[in-house]
């Protein structure tokens, strides 16, 4: 065993984050760490990697008892965590990033750039990643940036690598690449901890799983010994009959609400047309980089349209803008919660009422009482774990933050709602609730557009699916046609020879 944690406990003001948890992972093993948001996965990892000190319990690493004094010390010993928020420096090159704290030096103690680049090339080559070491990070795709972080971990002779939700920002094809790398690491004897909410990925890559719930250890099992339902039952303490609510029936779908024709946005969207109808959930599928988010922004009006036309609720919109879209009853839950969605210094109530501010109170004065009521209702309806309307959103967990944003857009959307990766970083229990809300909204008469990189989600939730590939619409599926296979085929159709061999 490379790492063994025994009876680890950790508390924060008001919260017992971990309660006598045991955890272990061996060399060459891929152990999945699963549990709902708030189950304690993050805390456990931070303790193992030296970012936190446990209140009780012991940590063993590579045979010896250890007490890390800093993450850096743990890193030096060979423990690396690759967070979703990558620790990279956009203005520096790939080579510089890999060695950003350990630059090779020549005999004069000056940085040896040639050695740096050579070693960087070798590391990336080992991983099978074709990345130019002289390229600045800011020009790299998210998947490639992840590669750079992995390369950095490899160079420091990592013994344990923790992947914290690595696939949340990757598309299907890139996930396969990552898994290939993880298998390679396994063979080299590296211990891997894999945190993810995507159950099918866990079943594909992990050897074993440890399940946490509310800070306690539910159990550690080999993957072969469980199936999806059992795992989910362990995670949320009850059986999950149906994750996805029933789809729309014939007659429940009405007229076209969002009509986009020949949308062109720079080089990202090359002439896409689609329609979204009242009462239906339309999925927009495709690989990361296919142009889905840009398409959504263009329809909403937050990205300039180079070409194309948009009609909302039958009216032509010559110059789309967020203001006009919101006035027409269209909402947009964006992908980037923190950067584009939340107002971190403001409270929950302010975040919820932001798009509909004008309606909170009669005149130019803001009716704080009314605002509080609105927020209170959201908290109740969506079971948001917060102290009240005046809670600071910065302190909420990712899933709860997502619920706040969802609540915001549910209030303000009357005709249509675009959701970009609505369940990213959200645990299974909350996902089910969100799916329920989405279907409820559709039934209430809205047109719902869901952008998602999770195939099971697209297939389980959506009535119809539009598939994009590299900026073009490669197909549309409806009803029984909507299967994971069909979507995947369309998502990679027409790509270059590199990916031709990877059909599902």
């Amino acid at each position: 065993m490379i790492v063994e944690a025994k009876a680890i406990s950790k508390s924060f003001p008001g919260v017992r984050s971990l309660d006598r948890v045991d955890f272990s992972v061996s060399a060459g093993e891929v152990r999945a760490l699963v549990g709902e948001n708030g189950a304690g996965k993050s805390t456990l990892i931070k303790i193992i990697s030296g970012a936190y000190v446990p209140d009780e319990g012991e940590l063993h690493f590579d045979g010896g008892n250890v007490k890390w004094s800093s993450p850096h010390e743990a890193q030096a010993a060979g423990i690396h965590v690759i967070y979703q928020e990558l620790v990279l420096f956009p203005e520096m090159t790939v080579a510089q990033n890999i060695f950003v704290n350990r630059q090779p030096r020549n005999s004069l103690r000056m940085i040896d750039y040639r050695a740096m680049k050579t070693r960087a090339k070798a590391l990336l080559g080992d991983l099978g990643a074709l990345i130019d070491v002289n390229e600045k990070i800011k020009r790299l795709s998210v998947a490639n940036r992840q590669m750079v972080e992995i390369a950095r971990a490899l160079d420091s002779d990592a013994k344990l690598i923790v992947f914290d939700e690595p696939t949340a920002v990757l598309g299907g094809h890139e996930v396969e690449l990552l898994f290939a790398i993880i298998r390679g690491l396994k063979q080299r004897g590296v211990a891997i901890v894999f945190i993810s909410h995507r159950l099918d990925e866990i079943f594909e890559i992990a050897d074993s799983a440890t399940v946490l719930k509310d800070g306690k250890l539910v159990g550690s099992v080999p993957i072969a010994a469980v199936d999806r339902n059992k795992l989910v039952a362990m995670m949320i303490g009850r059986n999950l009959a149906d994750i996805y609510p029933p789809k729309a029936q014939e007659g429940e779908v009405g007229e076209v609400v969002v009509d986009a024709k020949d949308i062109v946005v720079g080089a990202r969207v090359k002439g896409v047309s689609f329609e979204a109808r009242k009462g239906e959930v339309l999925g927009v599928a495709g690989m990361v980089g296919a142009g889905r988010t840009e398409l959504a922004h263009a329809v909403f009006g937050s990205l300039p349209l180079d070409c194309g036309s948009i009609r909302l609720v039958g009216q032509a919109v010559p110059k789309p803008s967020p203001t006009r879209s919101i006035a027409a009853g269209l909402g947009f839950l964006t992908e980037d919660r923190k950067g584009e969605g939340l107002f971190m210094l403001l409270d929950l109530a302010a975040n919820v009422t932001a798009p509909v501010l004008e309606t909170v109170g009669e005149s130019i004065w803001l009716d704080r009482g009314a605002e509080k009521d609105i927020a209170q209702k959201q908290i109740r309806d969506y079971a948001i774990a917060a102290t009240g309307p005046q809670a600071s959103v910065a302190n909420l967990s990712g899933g709860n933050q997502q619920k706040v944003l969802l609540g915001r857009w549910v209030i303000s959307s009357r005709t249509a709602l675009i959701l970009d990766e609505p369940t990213r970083g959200v645990d299974v229990g909350a996902k089910v609730e969100i799916y329920r809300i989405i279907r409820q909204l559709a039934r209430r008469g809205l047109a719902i557009i869901v952008i998602s990189s999770e195939l099971p989600e697209i297939v389980g939730l959506c009535d119809r699916v539009v598939v994009l590939c590299e900026g073009r619409k490669t197909g549309e599926l409806a009803g029984q046609e909507v299967t994971e296979n069909a979507v995947l085929q369309l998502a990679v159709a027409g790509r270059d020879a590199m990916s031709a061999g990877r059909s599902a």
Partner: protein, 325 residues
């Protein structure tokens, strides 16, 4: 966009030019433009003597702007340089007071003082978690107060050969100007080729990330501000050499004046991007500008306006779509 095969062999020079950011080329272009204007403006402009003068006079702005560059690279700003110049120029002439034996110890001491105070700036900013803008503003008030406590009017005097720093020349180029060039080169190498120097870019890029990777943000900040303080002191020493005495108000205006070449030269106020080369070009650009305006007999008043417009222009060019200068 993501995968590129390994690059074909290139000559070092071609690669260097290819990697040179657009901003530097822009400043170079502006310099060339100004040279052209200067030649048209006056026949005396294009003389060797005039260029030597520009070279000499740029040293004052040069030293302090170099220090400011380092601080801005970490994502901060040093608004105490003006007061620091006042303080150190006052102390320099006050402590030397005509005694040739005191010259070296005082100069060394004063630069060390600048470094020490700068170090305090960095420490306060980091440990108290107060924005450097506020910390250095506060420090500026403290320093100015201390200077005035020491003397309200120019005090002391320097030895005759103290002038050498500013006025002495070798091969027609002033010592001061050469020293400035040398220091820029040294700092450039330091920033690019040493781990400690590189850390300045790293901290400026993402301080939180730097911390996680074991780079001490505290030490890096203190170093950056210490260097800025030392550079400000150097400017003061140079100015004392040029004017013959110190002055408790000598540094007035240098805070904002030292930022202009930095920004014009392409170093971003947000940190992590840019470098001393851009600032050097910025310093020459501004010195050139002042020189031409003098030749055109433009009243000082217009010079202000033109400087302001230059800032706007250079900044507007540096800014890419959606990015801040």
């Amino acid at each position: 966009m993501s995968a590129v095969t390994s690059d074909p062999p290139r000559t070092a020079a071609r690669q260097a030019i290819r990697q040179m950011p657009v901003s530097l080329l822009v400043v170079l272009g502006l310099i060339v433009l100004l040279l052209a204007i200067g030649v048209i403006a006056s026949p005396r402009f294009a003389s060797l003597n005039n260029f030597r003068n520009i070279f000499q006079q740029s040293a004052a702005l040069g030293f302090v702007s170099l220090g400011q560059t380092i601080v801005v690279l970490t994502g901060g700003i040093d608004l105490s340089v003006g007061a620091m110049i006042s303080l150190t120029s006052n102390f320099t002439s006050g402590w030397i007071d005509g005694d040739p034996n005191m010259v070296v110890p005082v100069v060394v001491g004063v630069i060390a003082l600048g470094a020490a105070i700068g170090c305090v700036n960095g420490a306060l900013s980091h440990y108290l978690r107060v924005h450097p803008l506020i910390v250095t503003l506060g420090m500026a008030a403290i320093l100015q107060g201390c200077t005035l406590l020491y003397s309200l009017a120019p005090v002391g005097k320097v030895t005759d050969d103290f002038e050498a720093f500013a006025y002495g020349r070798i091969f027609g180029l002033s010592y001061g100007g050469l020293a400035m060039l040398a220091l820029f080169a040294l700092v450039g190498v330091f920033l690019h080729r040493t781990r400690t120097g590189n850390a300045i870019y790293v901290v400026g890029g993402d301080a939180r990330g730097a911390r996680l990777l074991g780079i001490s943000v505290a030490w890096t900040m203190m170093l950056a501000y210490a260097m800025s303080g030392a550079c400000a002191a150097l400017t003061a020493v140079y100015l004392v050499s040029r004017m013959g005495s110190g002055d408790p108000w000598r540094g007035d205006g240098f805070d904002l004046a030292s930022i202009t070449p930095v920004v014009v030269g392409g170093t971003a106020l947000s940190g992590g991007r840019g470098g001393p080369l851009g600032t050097l070009l910025g310093v020459y650009l501004i010195s050139l500008l002042n020189n031409i305006l003098n030749f055109m007999d433009v009243s000082t008043f217009y010079q202000w306006i033109v400087q302001g417009l230059i800032i706007i222009t250079a900044v507007a060019i540096h800014v890419e779509k959606g990015r801040r200068a």
